[in-house]
Symmetry: C2
Subunit: 450 residues, 2 copies
Amino acid sequence: MAIRNALIKQVDEQLNNGVDGETIKKFTEELHPAIIADRLENLEPGKIYTILQHLDFEIKADIFSHLDKNVSRDLSEFYDDDELADIFEFMPHDDRVDLFRVIPEERRNSLLRHIEPEEREDIIKLSSYPEGTAGALMTSDFVRIFEEMTVKEALNKIRKVARYRETIYIAYVVDQQNKLLGIVSLKDLIMFDSKSIIRDVMFTEIITVKVDDEREIVASRLSEYDLIAIPVTDERDRLVGIVTFDDALDVAEEEATEDFHKTAGLAPLERTYRDTSIFELFQKRIGWLMILVFVSLMSSGVIAAFEETLESAIALAFFIPLLIGSAGNAGAQAATLMVRALATDDVNLSGWLNTTGREILVGIMLGLVMGAACWVLGMFFGGAEIAIIVGLTMVSIILLANIIGTLLPFILTFFNMDPAVASSPLIATIMDATGLLIYFWIAILVLGSF
Amino acid sequence: MAIRNALIKQVDEQLNNGVDGETIKKFTEELHPAIIADRLENLEPGKIYTILQHLDFEIKADIFSHLDKNVSRDLSEFYDDDELADIFEFMPHDDRVDLFRVIPEERRNSLLRHIEPEEREDIIKLSSYPEGTAGALMTSDFVRIFEEMTVKEALNKIRKVARYRETIYIAYVVDQQNKLLGIVSLKDLIMFDSKSIIRDVMFTEIITVKVDDEREIVASRLSEYDLIAIPVTDERDRLVGIVTFDDALDVAEEEATEDFHKTAGLAPLERTYRDTSIFELFQKRIGWLMILVFVSLMSSGVIAAFEETLESAIALAFFIPLLIGSAGNAGAQAATLMVRALATDDVNLSGWLNTTGREILVGIMLGLVMGAACWVLGMFFGGAEIAIIVGLTMVSIILLANIIGTLLPFILTFFNMDPAVASSPLIATIMDATGLLIYFWIAILVLGSF
């Protein structure tokens, strides 16, 4: 990588000092457009515009499709409709729709008037699918062939359109109504006899998604079957697009980020963290924080109810953070294990009983070890009675936290809710109140009987 | 999907009732091996063995490479070395090494003796790379061509080996020492004039990984550049393998799971949740729980130090869970936002100052709203003095939690540690002690001055 890093440094220097046409052209020949886009993103849109002016529309389009969406939106304002239309015509169909979605609405109409009718229809159609569906993810630039073609004819067709297609490694066989009949991989096409008829060599047991399927389904199916691309069909089984493997990677990353945010008790961000405004960050977080304040009132209620017990043995107060904290931690561990196992299909709803059984055993083991440690601490800081109370409480609440942390994600799944709502903060706050209740009960029991 | 589900049901029924050779052969022709493997996994290994006996080694190998590793390990015990060697020879090189790694060590040597020398060396070499590196992920079945070949010769070579290669969509150009000189995509090969020389048409600015690079690097580079496969080179720039896009998806999922586990304060599992034993689950969790018990002792210390203040105004105790809980929740939100933003390269180390500045503003906004809510609760449950104490404490600790939650992941990254160690439980436990300290300080200040 040493050579590449040196080159990138050179690119950065050149880009910052203003480049001549030859240099930037040389860069685009030698470097992946993703690298160029990555380096350009550090500059002002005005500067990026000046640099790109040295390049052909085709290469501009390549770089546009690798730029961060917000950068390409800002950059697009420097182009008049005519120029931008040219760039749009060279961009991969899915990337240009992504850009189309973020440019200002009043601009969209004037831009569309400058785009060729066929391409225009494509953009309007693709942008009509709701975000988060297969339709919004798919591209319409795939290779269409017909079943009566020979292998040779199919290969010729592929050769002709290859430059403008996102993937040519799978060709899609459709009938006159555009119904998907089968697929043929380029691998097979180059191996088969060139006179074979596509109908006889195509693969008909095809894995597809529907245009309104959620993007998680698309990503998991691409991943499960190791597909380069998956065809997307509409309600009448007509082929409307394909989703390629690189989109599955992006979706998987975004979905994981959403789940991370949910398990920390915050509403998922719609943009990247960098692009989220301070007020939005506040909005995404305040909701759960306020809800949890009210859940916490249960804990205050428990302490108020047992005020006398607490006043009679103030040493009990020392152990409150330790006990309810540990219960929250153990519960968060169990809940996160379940949320993730459910998200990756490692465990499913029908496994709830078996899983809870296992977690009860784990909870008993954790509880006994933690309880013993607490007993020692109790002996040291509070005496024999306190030690018994603290030790017994620890065993009970760790076990209970494990059961609640395990069951809640299953219960949410059962009611068709996202299990990630069983966030660590929620479990911790529930365990605060429950833990205190158990603590004071055991305290009264022990203090009464000694 | 209705048709497919019906077919799968039929498959399940047939597999359970014992199938004849014709039926299972028909299934393998019509269904993706991943689907067959998926259905077989529900059966006993002995039964799977009997069913597979109807099939050719090539199809057996296909199904083997899609079976869960633990299932294929158990299944492999039904085969003698000779049969298993045949299956190994037909399996993709990366999948068979994965299987090789899990079969018992004593079996490995006797198995190797039944495998052809060339393939044997390949298995030994691939299995020597440490887990988690590019070397352990890569496959050695790619297409090698030479720069003096014509496009036509290269296509002929690809045609000849296509059946046995994991991907043929990229061909790798090497010299006599096996040094990687360039790549050519099949897309380009079918478009170029068949008499062109590979040297003149190959792409030389190649994105590669080293054999000992971590698998996260491999996955992120495949994803960043939308590559079908990435070449892996050794310390002398010799081409030793390629990693294909489908592996990147698996790695991304496993890495996300690891980070989920870390942020919940548990050591990442080595296997899936389902395959992890109860004792292992206990081991992965007890470590952090015990560490956090000792961190919690700081909280006990704070309460003990302010015992008198607490006894003089026991109403202060009511609000302990609410205050330290909210601080923990806000801190966990901030830390999770940072851990994920760092993991997805949305924010990097140099952005720490800017990010902390933003989070201070967010913290002030959250603190003010939460503080106001707490003041109202304080008025209601404890009177004017308590209300002032609780409100002021809330503002201060929410702000502080936000700062600590934001900075800790950056500090860990700075010291080359995994930012995910800044787990929600750790932040919450730290905030317990800090929050209590602030609470009592403010209480003494207000109670003394009123």
